[in-house]
Symmetry: C2
DNA sequence: ATTGTTTTTTACCATTTGGTAAAGGCACGA
DNA sequence: TCGTGCCTTTACCAAATGGTAAAAAACAAT
C-alpha cells in the first residue's frame, strides 16, 4: 500500500523549489494565470524554462502548488480565532491581522483574488475541503457568542465576508487606492482605524438604529 | 482644426460594435485581459476574427473601449449622491444601488476588478481624470455633512472604500461565496440586510464604544 | 443594371508559448 | 580518479495567438 519511495529532497531541490515559488507568486499575482508565462517565471527565478519543468510538472502544477501552499498560512489567522477569548477582541484581532496581511503580503492576496474572480478553476476543490470546514466552524463559534448575548446579533457568514472584502480590498485594489489617496503609505493608518471602528460598532451597538 | 470628417456610423456598424462589446465583456471579465483571446470574442460575437479588427483597432482597443464605456454607468450611482438629500439616506441609497449592480452586473464588476488588480495598465489615466474628481467631490460632500453633525464622524475616503469593497465582493468573489453559502441565490437577501445594517450603524452611532 | 462603397471571408504570417529530447556539466561517494 | 546519479542547458517543436492582405460578397445610390 506504500506509494512511491518519496526520497527526501536535496538541498538544491529545496532551494530551487522555493525560488520558483517566489518567482511564480510575483508573476502570477501580477498577471493572473493565463497572463503569466513560464519564461517570465523562469527569468524571475534566475533559471531556464526547462529547468522549471524539471522541478514542477508544468505551469498548472506550479500554480496549484502555490495556491495550496499559501492557503494554509492565509487561513491561519481565522483558525486561531479562539472559543476561550473575549468575542469582540477575538474578532477584532482577526480583523487587525487580516489588515496586516493585506499590507505586508499583497501579492498573496492578489493571487487568490485573480483565481477566485476567474471562477476558481484550479482551486475549487481546495475551497471545498479546506476553506469551507473552517468557515463553517467559525460561523458556528460566532453564532454561539451571539446567542450568549456577548455580541450584537449579526449574520456570521456575512460578517466574515465583510471582513474579507474590506481587508483584502486594500491589497487587491492597491492601484485604485493609490490613485485616490496619493499620500505615501496610501493612508494605512487611517484604513486601520476606520476598519476597526466599523466592525466595533457593528458588533457592539445593541440595536439597529432607525 | 477639424479632425476627420467622422461620418456617422451605419446601422450595421452600431449593431456589430455592440455585439462585439457584449462578447468582449463576457470574455474579458471571465479570463482577464491576457487570458482572453480574439478568437473567443469573435466566437461569442458570432463573427470572424478579422471582422473584429475591422471594427476595432485590435485587442487593446476593444478592452479600452469597454472600460471607458462602462466607467460612466458604473460611476453613475455615486454621481447621483445629492447635496440636498438626507445624508444617511443618500449614502444608504448609494449602498443599495451598488449592491444591486453587483447582483445584476457581475461581469462589469469583474472586468474592473481584473483590470485594477493587475495595476490598471490600460485604465490608469481614466482613473485619474474621471474617477478621482468624482471621488474627491463626494468625499468633500460627506465631510461637510459630518461637520454639520448630520453623520457620525468617519473618514469619507475610507467609507467609500468600504462600500466599494463590500458591495463588489459579492460579484467579484461570487465563486467563493457560492462555495461557502450553497443556497441558491447565494444569500442575497441576507447580504443586503447585513450591508445596510453595517453602514447604518457606522454612520449613526454617535461615539466609538470602548 | 452599374458603379462605388461598406462589410465579410479566406488564406496567410510572425511571434509567443507551453513543453520535450537529449546531451552536457557537476557533485560526491567508493 | 572514476563512475553514477542529480541538475542544467541547448536546440527544438507544435499549437495558439494577434494581426494582415486581398479578394469576394453585400449593399446603396444612381
Amino acid at each position: 500500500m506504500v506509494g512511491e519511495p518519496a526520497k527526501k529532497p536535496s538541498r538544491i531541490q529545496i532551494r530551487n523549489r522555493r525560488r520558483i515559488m517566489d518567482a511564480a507568486l510575483e508573476v502570477f499575482s501580477q498577471h493572473g494565470y493565463r497572463g503569466a508565462t513560464l519564461d517570465q517565471i523562469a527569468d524571475e527565478a534566475g533559471m531556464s524554462k526547462p529547468n522549471l519543468i524539471y522541478y514542477f510538472d508544468g505551469k498548472a502544477a506550479i500554480h496549484v502548488a502555490l495556491l495550496n501552499a499559501l492557503m494554509e498560512e492565509w487561513l491561519a489567522p481565522l483558525a486561531e480565532m479562539d472559543e476561550g477569548g473575549d468575542p469582540l477582541n477575538e474578532i477584532l484581532t482577526y480583523v487587525r491581522r487580516k489588515m496586516d496581511m493585506s499590507r505586508r503580503y499583497p501579492r498573496e492576496s492578489k493571487l487568490f483574488a485573480n483565481e477566485i474572480i476567474q471562477g476558481a478553476p484550479r482551486m475549487g476543490p481546495h475551497l471545498e475541503t479546506r476553506l469551507k470546514p473552517l468557515f463553517d466552524e467559525k460561523c458556528a463559534l460566532i453564532r454561539g457568542w451571539i446567542e450568549e448575548g456577548r455580541l450584537a446579533p449579526t449574520d456570521p457568514q456575512q460578517l466574515i465576508f465583510s471582513i474579507w472584502a474590506i481587508t483584502q480590498h486594500y491589497a487587491d485594489f492597491e492601484a485604485q487606492v493609490r490613485v485616490l489617496i496619493p499620500n505615501e503609505g496610501a493612508g494605512w493608518d487611517a484604513a486601520h482605524a476606520h476598519v476597526e471602528t466599523l466592525f466595533r460598532k457593528l458588533l457592539t451597538s445593541p440595536e439597529t438604529p432607525s
